[in-house]
């Protein structure tokens, strides 16, 4: 990695077979689910637009998997890797995507997934709104003397929202247990990052706020997982913020309705060579952790799990008109998820 400036280099830790396999499984199921979603859209069998994270699965999975269930994660809009990483079940994801009442949010989340049992406490649709919300959650954990950490995840395009600077300021000022986790995938919707941000990396800006930072290879799931583990331990112990920038690349279009024709095919091909799932597979095989048969077994199991979850979701009850109207105010819980108890 070039252009790391004065950032920290976080040593990549050794990883046990079980953890690497779990990370691999989660990346595979993420890709299978998003691929199925995309195929259903092509065939006009599904309504919900998607912002897929193909090629970036290592970031969300490594990040989510490295956190404890009661750490809070505010994910991005891109893909489902962060939810899967944090442990959200396919059944729950698809019940919400089909807007069915059996979902953790009673089908009222849709794309804006949440699962309060897993520290997934909400996704904002207006980019950057969660800088402040995550700072508030981090202040809350500090005031309550809890050792939870809070992660706010965003893209380099969203780094232009002014609240990022404000949130870094309060996080440093109040020594909040808040981790800024940015994925630099070189694209912001239909335009390259070079039209959005004035420097190739955003993390060095943290230095101006006295926040330590590091740039991490976002296509290496072990590097992501181990960086997050290291940073979480530090943040828990020292209770101060950290800025992580994951370098990756969006090899597909911005969303399901665009063909990506504005992207440079050589770049896409070069990054496809660095596919995180293929790299993880190679490592598992080279280190003799699994056999080729087991690799294809993992893929088949993922396909079956996604298919079953979609099938189940289709059969679930739709909300009635009354159920749609309910739940604007508290006291009318419509979801199947647990109420937050802190």
């Amino acid at each position: 990695m070039t252009t790391q400036g004065a950032g920290e280099t976080l040593a990549v830790r050794s990883i046990d077979t079980q953890t690497l396999l779990a990370l691999h499984r989660k990346m595979v199921i993420t890709r299978e689910a998003e691929q199925t979603w995309s195929d259903m859209l092509q065939k006009r069998e599904f309504y919900l637009m998607g912002h897929f994270g193909t090629g970036q699965e290592a970031v969300g999975v490594g990040l989510g998997h490295a956190l404890e269930p009661d750490d809070y994660l505010f994910p991005t809009h891109r893909g489902i890797a962060e939810y899967v990483g944090k442990g959200m079940a396919q059944n729950d994801i698809w019940a919400e995507y089909y807007a069915k009442t059996a979902g953790p949010a009673g089908g009222k989340g849709g794309l804006h997934l949440s699962d309060y049992r897993l520290g997934l406490i909400g996704l904002v649709g207006s980019l950057g709104a969660d800088y402040a919300i995550s700072a508030g959650a981090a202040l809350s954990t500090k005031l309550r003397g809890s050792d939870r950490v809070v992660v706010v995840s965003f893209g380099e395009g969203t780094s232009s929202q002014a609240d990022l600077g404000s949130a870094m300021n309060v996080a440093a000022l109040w020594k909040l247990p808040l981790i800024f986790a940015m994925t630099n995938n070189e694209w912001c919707e239909l335009s390259p990052a070079s039209e959005h941000v004035c420097t190739p990396f955003v993390a060095p800006r943290a230095e101006g706020y006295g926040i330590p930072w590091s740039v991490v290879d976002g296509n290496d799931v072990v590097a992501v997982y181990s960086a997050v583990r290291t940073v979480v331990e530090r943040v828990r112990a020292e209770a101060g913020p950290y800025f992580l920038e994951f370098k990756s690349y969006r090899v597909g279009p911005h969303w399901s309705g665009d063909d990506g024709s504005y992207m440079c095919q050589e770049d896409v091909c070069a990054w496809q060579e660095r596919d995180p799932i293929a790299a993880c597979e190679r490592r598992l095989l080279e280190e003799g952790m699994v056999s080729a048969g087991e690799i294809s077994g993992i893929k088949k199991a993922a396909q079956a799990e996604v298919a079953a979850a979609i099938e189940r979701a289709r059969g679930l009850a739709d909300p009635t008109y009354e159920e749609m109207l309910a739940g604007v105010y508290s006291g009318a819980p419509a979801g199947g998820g647990a109420r937050e108890v802190s």
Binding site: P104, S134, A135
Partner: protein
């Protein structure tokens, strides 16, 4: 019953709620010192962890309140001027309002945002508006506008205890007016209007700083033989339609009075509801007394012409009845 200024009544409500529930925290710009006295002295009693000075970041004050509220705290945030509520619009209108619904009730959003609106200092523009009308729309919010010291105390206490987000629009010109407040602890329920004067000819719904002027106008009109019922809704969302429209059903006339501008006003909403629900009881068109649709002008003279006066209210009612 002792007299205390509105600002002191707000301060008392906050102190009582901070003492009652340790999940309550107060946050905002300079809340430790307290610009208008509403939060002064609280930090000495409750400490810096409960009374938190924030940097100048209105969207952040609202957003951090949301983050606190969905993780077990009960924040009372302050936006120093009601004009600056617009800087927090994304968090308030897009996030806070919809969070309970969006999460299917996995969480509630027990937060309060207090702010100070209104003319009185003659500086115009960004330090003089009342902005409550802009917050009637986003579903999921409750909106309160106390018109006197006792309501400022009792409504705020109810707001802090409520599990939904409540916006409290205080009025900075009322802050310094001493008024009677009960000595014992009390709550004023949300969603309940207050009939301040009964009458038979006209129902006058007055909001916040206009309640005093509406009562003054009603006194003048009584001398002319026009009997005016004055209602302070106190809570704008949810609105106590039963009390207001019950009164209109008797009087047949409805006048709304507010300090805000006319287009998209609180009165616009009440008038539209009246047209839909009680059109048959109306003997005259609904009248809205409000500020003109211009920015709040600077200078004491322009300000006094901008803000509705008791005389304007009287003229409006005379036209309606005459």
């Amino acid at each position: 019953m002792a007299e205390m200024p509105y600002a002191a009544a707000v301060n008392r409500a906050l102190a009582e709620e901070l003492a009652r529930d340790e999940r309550v925290v107060v946050l905002g710009e300079d809340v430790r010192a307290g610009m208008f006295g509403t939060t002064s002295g609280l930090v000495q009693r409750f400490g810096e962890e409960r009374v938190i000075n924030t940097p100048i970041w209105e969207n952040g004050i609202a957003g951090m309140a949301l983050g606190l509220a969905i993780t077990g705290m009960r924040p009372v945030a302050e936006i120093m001027f009601a004009d600056f509520m617009y800087l927090a619009m994304d968090e308030i209108a897009n996030q806070i309002a919809s969070w309970t619904y969006m999460t299917g009730g996995q969480t509630s959003v027990p937060l309060v945002i207090r702010t100070a609106g209104g003319a009185g200092f003659a500086i115009g523009y960004n330090h003089s508006q009342v902005t409550e009308a802009s917050f009637l729309g986003p579903p999921g919010l409750k909106v309160v506008a106390p018109s006197n010291a006792a309501d400022a105390c009792g409504l705020l206490k109810s707001a802090v205890r409520d599990d939904d987000p409540v916006l409290v629009f205080e009025h900075k010109f009322l802050y310094f007016v001493p008024q009677e407040v009960p000595d014992e602890e009390f709550l004023v329920p949300l969603g309940k209007a207050n009939v301040l004067r009964s009458g038979d000819d006209v129902t006058m719904v007055a909001i916040g700083s206009m309640v005093g002027k509406a009562l003054e106008a009603a006194g003048t009109l009584a001398a002319d033989g026009i009997s005016v019922e004055v209602i302070d809704p106190r809570t704008l969302v949810p609105l106590d339609q039963e009390t207001i429209f019950g009164s209109v059903a008797r009087t047949g006339r409805l006048v709304t009075v507010e300090e805000g501008r006319k287009r998209g006003s609180v009165g616009s909403e009440i008038a539209a509801e009246a047209a839909e629900k009680i059109f048959g009881s109306l003997k005259a068109p609904v009248a809205r007394v409000a500020a003109p649709d211009i920015p709040v002008p600077p200078g004491p003279l322009a300000e006094s012409m901008y803000v509705p006066s008791a005389e304007r209210i009287v003229e409006t009612v005379r036209r309606l009845v005459g």
